[in-house]
Structures are given as structure tokens and as C-alpha cells.
């Protein structure tokens, strides 16, 4: 076994720590921008201005909201499991950093080089379900429990087609390394995986919506029926962390989608990170567009759609991919 020298360790460590700090800044800054963007998109689709008063065109609205949220009292409901109740927001937010680690931002720009990046992301993305379940259950609130139960059923179900659609790309490229997957694609749209695997892309996107509890699959929150579902009882930054985690998870879903299907950081003229950011934000805009267009599905529709449509289609897609990879 190779025991790393002190010098090697410290360089790796410095890279990791620096990367984590940058990622934390990126996640926080994106949360601010994306919440503002979401409210603007919602406003314009409903033909109203959205946030407008704080800063030019309401740009500072999210900062004002964040300041308000930080200042709020953290209330633990009576009869709640205090430890689990406050563990849940942390559990939702902490894995976010791990999710961003293996994403490659450009040629040689990454925090952690691993040939199992995809597995790392998929494994740690599952922790979000645990956080939602723990939070909902520990609140001692019927809406919380209902939201948690829905979240578990939904996430467990939708993880299957998600994995299967990702697996199709892995079959094609023969790799779980995100850097490698990007390198195998070209600069131009017709060299991207989405042309070869359009079905996998669409299904990955749908499952990404469901995994991040976004409308039209936002049943765990379900404002109209469950007040706020699993985070009904959370005040102040407890709720804030859940929301930040949700936006960060969406960003990871979009990042992975860009890397697997849309050529990642590759693109003409501009340097890599800009291309990845542009692709991520385009997908985010698509997610927001969907949220403000489609009504929430019913729970039976949600599960029927998954088990009767998505899983058979992805299985067929995967089988076809395997056959074609073997033949050619």
C-alpha cells in the first residue's frame, strides 16, 4: 500500500479545503441568485413584476430575506424529537458539498479526481431523502409525517429510472468518471450524448425533478394540501437550510445532466467553466419553467407514471444500449 508523503497529503488537502470553501461560496451565492430568479420567472409568467422594491429590480430581495431568516427564533415544536429535528436540516445541507466535489468545471478544474464520481454523487444524493424523512418524522406533526412518507415513496421509486438512465451513458462510455465522460464528447451540440441517448436524457430530467422534490412532483411539500409538508414546523434557518439544499441539489442535477448529456464544460470559443455554468443555468430555467407551468400530480399518478412508464422505458433503453454497445 502506498503511504502518501507529507507533501503530497498537504497539497491534496489544501486543494480539497480550498475547493470546499469555493464550493460553499458558490452554493450560497447561487441560492441567492436562483431564489431571486425563480421569483422573477414566476412573476413574469403570471404577468406581475415579482420582487421589485429591494435593490434594482428586487436584486437584493433574497439577501434581505436571508437576513430576516437568520434573525428568526428557532422554535422546536412540543413533543418533537429535539436532536433529530435539528439534525435533519444539517443532514440535508451537508452532503451538498460532497455532491459538487467530483464535478469537473473545465480542463483540469475539479476539486476531487476520482474515477467513481458518478457513484459518489448518486450515493450522497440519497441522503437528502433521509433528511426529509427525519425532519418530517421528528416534527411531531401530521403534515410533516405525511410529507416525509410521500418523500420516501417518491424518492425510492424515482431513483431507479434515474440510475438506469445514467447507466446507459456509463455503458456507452465505459466509465463512471465525469472527467472521462466529458472528454469523450465534442465541442459542438451534435457531438453530445443527448443526440445518442435522448430518451435517457428526458427520463433523467424528469427523475431529477422528482428527486429534488420540484413541481410538478413537489408532493412532499405540497403547500395546498400539506401546508409545507416535511418542513411545516421549521422556522428561520432550519427552513433556510432545507431551501438552500433544495436549490443546491437542483444545481447538482443540472450539472450532472450537462456533463452526461450536454458535453459538460465543452463548447466553442469560451473557456470551460462558463460553458458548464451556462448549461446548468439553462437547465435551471427549464426546471423553473416547468414548475410554473404544470400542476402538481396526484400521488397515485406519480407512482403509476414511474412504475408503469419510466422504469419499463429505461429498461428497454438500457437493453438496447447494451446490445448496440456489444454489437458495435
Amino acid at each position: 500500500m502506498h503511504i502518501p508523503m507529507l507533501g503530497e497529503v498537504s497539497i491534496e488537502l489544501i486543494r480539497l479545503v480550498l475547493g470546499l470553501v469555493l464550493l460553499a461560496a458558490f452554493v450560497g451565492g447561487n441560492g441567492v441568485v436562483l431564489v431571486w430568479l425563480e421569483r422573477k420567472v414566476a412573476g413574469h409568467i403570471q404577468r406581475r413584476p415579482g420582487p421589485f422594491e429591494v435593490g434594482p429590480h428586487g436584486l437584493l430581495q433574497t439577501l434581505a430575506d436571508a437576513a430576516k431568516m437568520v434573525g428568526k427564533q428557532l422554535v422546536t415544536p412540543a413533543g418533537a424529537d429535539k436532536l433529530l429535528f435539528w439534525l435533519a436540516p444539517l443532514l440535508a445541507f451537508l452532503p451538498v458539498f460532497v455532491l459538487f466535489l467530483p464535478i469537473s468545471w473545465g480542463e483540469g478544474i475539479f476539486v476531487l479526481e476520482t474515477n467513481l464520481g458518478l457513484v459518489l454523487i448518486l450515493a450522497f444524493a440519497g441522503i437528502n431523502v433521509v433528511a426529509v424523512m427525519v425532519g418530517g418524522w421528528a416534527s411531531n406533526n401530521k403534515y410533516g409525517v405525511l410529507g416525509a412518507a410521500r418523500a420516501v415513496a417518491q424518492s425510492v421509486a424515482y431513483e431507479i429510472p434515474l440510475l438506469l438512465s445514467v447507466l446507459a451513458i456509463s455503458f456507452m462510455t465505459g466509465s463512471l468518471d465525469l472527467n472521462r465522460i466529458v472528454e469523450l464528447q465534442g465541442n459542438w451540440p451534435w457531438q453530445w450524448n443527448v443526440l445518442v441517448q435522448p430518451v435517457a436524457f428526458v427520463i433523467y430530467f424528469i427523475c431529477g425533478l422528482a428527486e429534488t422534490n420540484r413541481a410538478p412532483f413537489d408532493l412532499p411539500e405540497g403547500e395546498s394540501e400539506l401546508t409545507a409538508g416535511f418542513h411545516t414546523e421549521y422556522s428561520g434557518m432550519g427552513f433556510g437550510l432545507f431551501m438552500l439544499a433544495e436549490y443546491a441539489n437542483m444545481l447538482v442535477v443540472c450539472g450532472v445532466a450537462s456533463i452526461l448529456f450536454l458535453g459538460g464544460w465543452k463548447g466553442p470559443f469560451l473557456p470551460g467553466p462558463w460553458w458548464l455554468l451556462a448549461k446548468m443555468y439553462a437547465l435551471m430555467a427549464l426546471i423553473m419553467w416547468c414548475r410554473w407551468t404544470f400542476p402538481r400530480v396526484r400521488f397515485d399518478q406519480l407512482l403509476n407514471f414511474n412504475w408503469k412508464w419510466l422504469i419499463p422505458i429505461t429498461l428497454a433503453n438500457l437493453f438496447l444500449t447494451a446490445v448496440l454497445v456489444k454489437v458495435f
Binding site: 420567472v41 412573476g43 413574469h44 409568467i45 403570471q46 404577468r47 406581475r48 413584476p49 419553467w289 404544470f294
Partner: protein, 224 residues
């Protein structure tokens, strides 16, 4: 075959998702319909049903058409209207008969007693808007159409007392403002008065301003 048909039908129905996205996109790029309140205010107020206000007589806009029949106060389910009748002016002192009266001499006990003039305008007309449910029964039942809904969209205040309206004072103020405005349109001197014709600004000025005040204000404006 029906299975295939069902699947084909379901797949075809996915088109509605695209239609939905198209609808939201179209709306996204269309102009907004909301009004940025502090900088703009709404202008389609003709059908707005605010608190009630009195309607002036056509010839004397400062005096309400009201005949104090009390119907509005009676039908009001919240009893938020209180009206007092104006006191009749004190009867004129009986004319002293001249010592040498001309004409037929009528004994004083047989002469008709001097008729007190019937005063029908209200002395005060107060609305307690705090309990008003805006049912409009008063407006509907007024036999002389002396009540209407105001267009005070932005009525807001810090205390209950601010919503106890003296409608007589309000009518006098409206008449004064409109009178001054009508006589001095386009005169820069009365800009402040004209401004108050604007209902929102006017509301701020709805304090106990009498007609005389408004008129002096107008004159001051003229002088300046």
C-alpha cells in the same frame, strides 16, 4: 390492439405539456398587468365600492340631498350610520302688532301660529366604517339618491378613530375643492388645491376642513 391504442393515446396526450409550456412562455413575454402602487395608482375606480359618502345637491354641492328620513340608519345591519337632524333656527320673534293696526283686527288667539320652517338637511351624518360590512343597503334604499360609494381605494390608518367619518365635513370639503378647482383650472397658483382633487391625496386632507378654509386657501393661492 386496444393496449397499443391506449398507449398511443397516452403518448399523444403528452402534447398538452408542450401546449402548457407555450402558454406560459407567451405570458412571460407579455406586458405586466399589475400596478406598482406607491409610484402608480389604479385608475379604474368607477365600480369600486368604498365606504359611503354623501351626494350634494346639484345647485349647492356643499349641502347633501339627504332629507333625514333615517331609512339608511334603519336598514343598516351594522348600525354604523348615525344622523342628527339639523336644529330649526330659533323662531323669529313675533312681530309686534302696531298699536294702530291697519286692516281687520284679528284677535291674537285666532291667528295661525307662526309655522316653524321644516329643516330637512342633516345636522350631522356620521359613518362608523369600522363596523360597516359594505352591504350597500343604505345606498340601495336612499329615496333621494343621496348616498354613493366613494372610491377611497387606499384607505388606511393607525387608529379606529380614523375610520369614523364625518360625511358632512367630507361633502363640504369635496364641494370646496371641486369648486375652487373648477373656477381656477390651469391656474398654477392653485396647484395644491388641484392636487387634492386626486382622491388619494385628498384622503390625506380629509381633516375637519370647512368650506371657509378651502375658500381662503384658494384666495391665498390666487394672491400668490
Amino acid at each position: 390492439m386496444s393496449v397499443v391504442y391506449d398507449i398511443a393515446k397516452k403518448v399523444a396526450s403528452m402534447w398538452s405539456l408542450i401546449v402548457g409550456l407555450r402558454v406560459t412562455t407567451k405570458n412571460f413575454f407579455q406586458p405586466q398587468v399589475t400596478v406598482h402602487y406607491p409610484r402608480q395608482s389604479v385608475d379604474n375606480l368607477s365600480t369600486f365600492r368604498g365606504h359611503i359618502e354623501l351626494v350634494g345637491q346639484p345647485k349647492d354641492p356643499a349641502t347633501p340631498r339627504c332629507i333625514t328620513c333615517m331609512l339608511c340608519a334603519t336598514v343598516c345591519p351594522s348600525q354604523c350610520i348615525s344622523i342628527t337632524k339639523a336644529k330649526a333656527p330659533p323662531p323669529e320673534p313675533a312681530k309686534k302688532l302696531p298699536d294702530h293696526a291697519e286692516g281687520p283686527l284679528v284677535p291674537p288667539e285666532k291667528a295661525e301660529p307662526p309655522k316653524a320652517k321644516v329643516i330637512k338637511t342633516p345636522g350631522s351624518f356620521e359613518l362608523n366604517f369600522n363596523t360597516c360590512s359594505l352591504c350597500g343597503m343604505c345606498v340601495q334604499n336612499c329615496p333621494v339618491s343621496s348616498l354613493r360609494f366613494s372610491t377611497d381605494v387606499y384607505a388606511a390608518g393607525f387608529s379606529r378613530q380614523e375610520f369614523e367619518y364625518d360625511l358632512m365635513a367630507r361633502l363640504r370639503l369635496q364641494a370646496a375643492v371641486l369648486g375652487v378647482a373648477a373656477s381656477q383650472v390651469n391656474s398654477p397658483a392653485c396647484e395644491d388645491t388641484l392636487e387634492r382633487v386626486d382622491p388619494e391625496k385628498y384622503r390625506l386632507a380629509k381633516g375637519p376642513l370647512t368650506q371657509a378654509d378651502a375658500v381662503t386657501k384658494g384666495k391665498r393661492g390666487q394672491a400668490a
